[in-house]
Amino acid sequence: MADRPVPPAPAGAVADEALPGAWRARYDARRGPGHRAAEGMRVYGLVVGMWVRSTMAYRASFAMTALGNLAATALDFVTIVLMFGRVHALGGFTLPEVGFLYGTAGTAFGLADLFLGSMDRLGRRVRDGTLDALLLRPAPVLAQVAADKFALRRLGRIVQGLAVLGWSLARVDVHWTWWRAAMVPGMVVCGGIIFCAVFTAGAAFQFVAQDAAEVQNSVTYGGNTMLQYPPGIFARELVRGVTFVVPLAFVNWLPALRVLGEPDPLGLPGWLDFASPLVAALCCALAAAAWRTGLRAYRSTGS
């Protein structure tokens, strides 16, 4: 990125030059927010490309860590299979049905983990002062933080999720229509976006509480684990929490219940089963607002 020329500052902004925020505002006013988003994606791609090249310098190490990543997530499913060695159904769901929940949640979470999983390092950057360097570069901070230490080995989780999803699709007892079939990729994509929003909001929270990175894990990794089980086994308040507070139920629970033809334990209106794209968009808007608020509130440690 160092070779990218810094665009000339707009005239009459001399006093504000030192403030990256003010600089960005003027930059936006001149080029429009669409340009800014495209610029963010370009920067993200450049930084990701750099990390991928550096990962590929040690191919054997990459293969082993990717395999390890796959094995680590597979243990969750092994646990579920071991449970089904003792029972025929869990919360009224058969093993392929639980596999369907597992595969959709795991793949959606895997996508978000691959694209934005390194954002939980933000607290460390705030603590040691290296975030300041990112603020000085003429590139959107969100794109830089999102691409920071991009770990290609996280493909392992996606592969494992897709494998379980494929296995379950061949075995679930579903009368497949076009809209049911379309809901499966829809769950993975919308679910991935919802998890991305959670990662972003979690990173924004770390501007306030740098040491609290682990709280985020309870929603991301914990949420992923929860979505692998049928909603009926959890307490109602818990299900309400992941429907209305952190809307993870829209990742796979509500649409999957519709696909599998299972009743919804909360008895919500049926149209909500199709509301995942809307919820994903809403989550993105809220996460973006949280991110901007966090970034504005940022005070450097000065170290």
């Binding site: 449970m83 060695g85 682990e214 818990l238």
Partner: protein, 271 residues
């Protein structure tokens, strides 16, 4: 000499305790995560045990106690990492271990003291709260007999020794492997699965269960849990503690052997 060195290692352990006690926000954040995972696992066990009461010899209340005990011991046993082994590995890779080796302290005893200090803090800070939360939300099964609690305390201490001994071997592997991430990962996965963290080992089927119960990782969670849940009576409890002690001795001795091999044969990098 012996007396003063005991005081010295006690001081190292105290610093280990204080070092982790410094990060209060991080500890609170970890507690939130332990509690959330405890809730999720607890509900999945309720679904399991309501269909198969007495699965693996546990009642539902015992299974739920197992869940919260597991969450409470997770960070003390460093089952998800977070112990000293990465730090030791880094010091070996950078060559700083040369400085540690000419200090008037034994390398293994130094790290053992520091790790016991850390583990004691994790037991108090991250062990007690999940148990309290769990007992407020669910009906748990806790023993009334004080002797069981004494045996449980001894079992936890032995579990900490086994946990340290395994991770010391992982740390020492950096003497031979410049990138020990692979070994760390394999041991970490084995620890999570074979300690009974994901599912109690007595629910594992047939031969897998038999093998899992004989491996050292079962000494870190399954055995202390079974001691607390009163599954070992009288001589059985002593046999369980003996199993832990045997693994602790064997692995600590292996660590000692590997340490002397490493310091004799390996040329430290860096200058």
């Amino acid at each position: 000499m012996r007396g003063s060195s005991a005081g010295f290692y006690a001081a190292v352990a105290t610093r280990g305790f204080r070092r982790y006690a410094t990060y209060r926000t991080a500890t609170a954040a970890g507690l939130v995560t332990n509690t959330v995972f405890g809730l999720i696992i607890a509900y999945s066990y309720i679904a399991l045990w309501s269909q198969r009461p007495h699965l693996g010899g546990y009642t539902q209340a015992q299974a739920l106690t197992y869940v919260w005990l597991g969450q409470g011991m997770l960070s003390a046993m460093a089952l998800m990492g977070g112990g000293f082994e990465d730090e030791l590995g880094d010091r070996i890779r950078s060559g700083d271990v040369a400085i540690d080796l000419y200090r008037p302290a034994d390398l293994q005893a130094w790290w053992l003291s520091a790790d016991l200090g850390r583990a004691l803090f994790q037991l108090l800070a991250r062990g007690v709260v999940p148990m309290v939360v769990g007992s407020l939300l669910f009906t748990l099964w806790l023993p009334a007999d004080p002797l069981t609690w004494v045996l449980f305390a001894a079992s936890v201490l032995l579990a900490l020794l086994v946990s340290f001994a395994v991770r010391y071997l992982v740390g020492l592997s950096f003497f031979w492997l410049l990138d020990g991430a692979g070994v760390s990962q394999v041991v970490w996965l084995a620890g999570l699965f074979f300690s009974g963290m994901l599912l109690p080992l007595n629910v594992f089927p047939g031969a897998l269960g038999t093998v899992a119960r004989a491996l050292p990782w079962s000494a870190m969670l399954q055995v202390p849990a079974d001691v607390l849940l009163g599954r070992h009576q009288g001589g059985g409890a002593l046999a369980a503690l003996g199993f832990q002690a045997a693994w602790a001795m064997a692995l600590l001795a292996a660590g000692r052997g590997l340490q002397s091999l490493a310091t004799r044969r390996v040329v430290v990098q860096g200058g």
